[in-house]
């Protein structure tokens, strides 16, 4: 049944969090069911400007199933995201949502969670922290890695987690990166969830392996279709993938969240 479509969603609010980070709440029409969304999934946002054809994959920051709404927090990196940042309440935007596979939550086995977000990898951790709490996690610790002292979303994590911060310039928290924070405070956990730049994810994969704990990593890559057809956004996998029949997986369809042992950086 061809029952999914790119839908016309409505921006209900948008605010600027920092110089280049924006927060947008979006309400979806009935034909797009947001109640199936889970943290770690993403949405494909399309530009109004027809010269920009490809969707922008943006991670889900918060889910409001009651009102069929999602929140995204994104960085303006190019003309497409700049266009999104100009949209005010009431504007429409074409979206396919939700897409990909999110984080797997199992609070019976993994009672103590460590969430690590670096830069624009921070937003998906918010809904995850909330869901982990709702599912009865014993402890939720969050390490947020920022460039500087503009600590977007930090306060919003406080109700759900113990929050630790690193900044590249040392203006707040530990000077350095998220892994420096984990080592500095000796943070321990049964499971790690992470999203952020590749060097950070590489480091976390090593750290998880050394400590013998599970890690779920959310990857990023340039995408074209966003639905698993074009093979633009693949990553190398340890084993031969069932779909591709070679050692790579589609980030948009098989991910963006992978078990750290599944993939090779």
């Amino acid at each position: 049944m061809a029952d999914r479509k790119k839908c016309k969603a409505q921006v209900t609010s948008q605010i600027k969090l920092t110089e280049d980070i924006y927060s947008m709440w979006i309400k979806f029409p009935k034909n797009t069911d947001i109640s199936v969304a889970v943290p770690g999934q993403f949405i494909s946002m399309y530009c109004h400007d027809g010269s920009r054809m490809l969707p922008r994959p943006i991670s889900i920051c918060q889910i409001n199933t009651n009102d069929n709404m999602l929140r995204v927090v994104y960085r303006t990196v190019g003309k497409g995201t700049k266009e999104f940042s100009m949209l005010g309440a009431g504007s429409t935007i074409d979206i396919i949502a939700p897409l990909g596979n999110g984080f797997i939550i199992d609070t019976d086995i993994f009672k103590n969670a460590l969430l690590i977000g670096g830069g624009i990898g921070i937003p998906p951790m918010l809904e995850l922290a909330k869901k982990l709490r709702e599912n009865g996690s014993e402890s939720v610790k969050v390490v947020l890695g920022y460039r500087d002292g503009t600590l977007f979303l930090k306060d919003e994590f406080e109700p759900y987690a113990d929050v630790y911060v690193s900044t590249e310039d040392g203006s707040s928290g530990i000077k350095g990166n998220t892994i420096d924070v984990i080592n500095e405070y000796g943070i321990e956990a049964d499971i790690i969830y992470a999203c952020g730049p590749l060097p950070m994810l590489r480091g976390i994969k090593v750290l998880a392996k050394e400590r013998g704990i599970k890690a779920q990593l959310s990857l990023e890559e340039r995408m074209a279709c966003g639905i698993g057809a074009c093979l633009g956004c693949v990553c190398n996998s340890k084993e031969k993938d069932e779909h591709s029949n070679v050692k790579n997986k589609r980030i948009c369809k098989d991910g963006p969240v992978f078990d750290s042992e599944e993939i090779i950086f």
Partner: protein, 300 residues
């Protein structure tokens, strides 16, 4: 109103198919498009063995288009026959299988394997700009192109479409060469070789350095080449290159294409192929066109 066309001896219910590589084998689109509505699905290039493809980044956006250098990643013919053909057979649509290879023998191997399969047409990709061996080498030398066509025709049990590259001085020369080799049809255009530099990282936007340019940016080039080829050969033309809507498709048809393929536009809207077919009907209805065949090559 008649939307059906006869393409290389095959009756197809409407002239719209998908451009190879943009639609997988259709499975990823089944939630977005009623595959039964499509004239045909053209599958992603398949080789004799699985190919890993290129390193990432494999794609980047450009003005009104994109560059890709996927490198023909594919699961190989065995899995394709086991999984992808049966999937498509569930639907009332024709199957065009795109075939790629690094050597002539590799093309032949795939064509032989497909001989007994219940598919409708073969599209031989001699024009991929993103793999070093094979592909484009055959697509830029008329004599090699003729030889590949001739050899493929010896083993093919389905009509053979040769997919042509625009990265040549005179595309009509290539079209005539494959016609002389016995091709039943030609498809064009494949992507134009391009490059993008990431000025912030001071490097190439694609790991492969160059990629194939597609999307509406290349449409005028594609329409021109379809027109030239349609007037140079007797075999039918499958036209593609930047088609986003029914109006674009009609340009190709009026320039001489019997069928059209939609590629990059699927990334902008996964349901677009259905919209295009509906749009063709609307145009015909509005303009009192009873048979789409009246429009093929009507602009001389």
């Amino acid at each position: 109103m008649n939307l059906s066309v006869n393409f290389a001896g095959i009756d197809i219910k409407n002239p719209v198919t998908t451009a190879s590589g943009t639609f997988g084998s259709g499975a990823e689109y089944k939630d977005f498009v009623d595959l039964n509505k499509l004239g045909a699905v053209t599958t992603k290039g398949v080789a004799s063995v699985p190919w890993e493809g290129n390193q990432t980044p494999r794609i980047c956006e450009t003005y009104s288009g994109m560059l890709n250098a996927i490198g023909l990643q594919n699961p190989g013919i065995d899995l394709f026959i086991k999984r992808d053909i049966p999937f498509l057979k569930q639907y009332d649509t024709k199957i065009i299988v795109n075939v790629c290879g690094k050597t002539l023998d590799e093309y032949i191997e795939v064509v032989k394997r497909l001989a007994e399969e219940d598919i409708d047409l073969l599209e031989i990709n001699i024009s991929c700009p993103n793999v070093k061996a094979g592909g484009i080498a055959f697509g830029q030398d008329p004599e090699l192109a003729r030889q590949v066509t001739d050899k493929v025709k010896q083993y093919a049990k389905q009509p053979v479409i040769m997919k042509l590259s625009p990265n040549v001085t005179d595309i009509t020369e290539m079209a005539r060469a494959v016609e002389a080799g016995g091709a039943d049809a030609v498809s064009l255009i494949n992507t134009l070789t391009g490059m993008k530099i990431d000025i912030n990282k001071r490097t190439f936007a694609l790991a492969n350095k160059t990629g194939g340019l597609s999307g509406p940016a290349i449409k005028p080039v594609a329409v021109r080449m379809v027109y030239q080829v349609a007037n140079a050969v007797k075999i039918p033309v499958l036209g593609m290159g930047g088609i986003q809507n029914a109006e674009d498709a009609l340009e190709f048809i009026m320039a001489g294409a019997t069928m059209v393929a939609v590629g990059t536009a699927n990334f902008n809207n996964p349901s677009v192929t259905e919209d295009i077919i509906n749009g063709l009907e609307t145009f015909m209805d509005k303009n009192g066109v009873k048979d789409i065949n009246e429009l093929i090559g009507c602009v001389k």
